[in-house]
Subunit: 142 residues, 2 copies
């Protein structure tokens, strides 16, 4: 069994397990500057603490809300450098919310067309496949 003593810090796999991140993602986030490089043991192993865990969770939750890594980086900068980050953070969130709504609208348009053609295809015995005809003939957007 590996060392679980909190005074010695978490290994990468433990941090990944505790946060739900993929093992490789932890190293990736360090590489792109979203996680600070942790101290190393004598043999070069990374040793994380609670602050790393907190920060990694922040990034992962940001990702769950659909923020890009650049947006998460901006949010982290606000956390680190600003006293009153709410106005800027809220602006970022509002912009992102608009992006999300645009994506939903796009997907709903796709859903509508797909639903229609799947219904028209029925049991798939038609010689003129409505899906294929749609792709050849129609514009899918007005």
């Amino acid at each position: 069994m590996r060392d679980q003593n909190p005074a010695r810090g978490l290994q990468r796999a433990e941090l990944a397990r505790r946060t739900g991140a993929n093992l490789e993602t932890v190293r990736y986030y360090e590489k792109v500057g979203l996680l600070p490089p942790p101290p190393r043991t004598a043999s070069g192993y990374r040793s994380y603490d609670k602050a790393h865990e907190r920060r990694l969770s922040f990034v992962l939750r940001g990702r769950e809300l659909g923020f890009s890594l650049d947006e998460v980086r901006a949010l982290l900068r606000l956390v680190d450098e600003r006293d009153q980050p709410c106005a800027e953070a809220s602006r970022l969130a509002a912009t992102h919310l608009a992006d999300v709504r645009t994506k939903i609208a796009d997907l709903r348009r796709m859903e509508g067309v797909l639903k229609r053609v799947v219904a028209q295809c029925g049991d798939g015995t038609r010689p003129d496949c409505p899906l294929i005809e749609t792709l050849f003939r129609e514009t899918t957007v007005e």
Copy 2:
């Protein structure tokens, strides 16, 4: 003025313009096998015809419906090789429709959380930013 005589075929830029594709995308689709390599002029220029235009439009419309290039490739194979492609095509579309609906559900969850936090942030004068607190504290998914 360039040659517009249909007997001589379309150049790449013309094909792109007529279909709405990006110029580089045309070559890319050829490279990944979605468009057949067109005949070349004596000096090596690609020369497209109506069949290419039709096929490229098919790919672009498939993309507008959110199909991956692999899925579009599969649909094109059905068009080329099968007499009765509708059953298989419809299955592909139904699978893709389910994917689209999953994405919509994900985005709606994001939208709900973002809408809430943006509302809570209000004019951005709060010292405890609801967005940042959410990212640090909550799980965004139940």
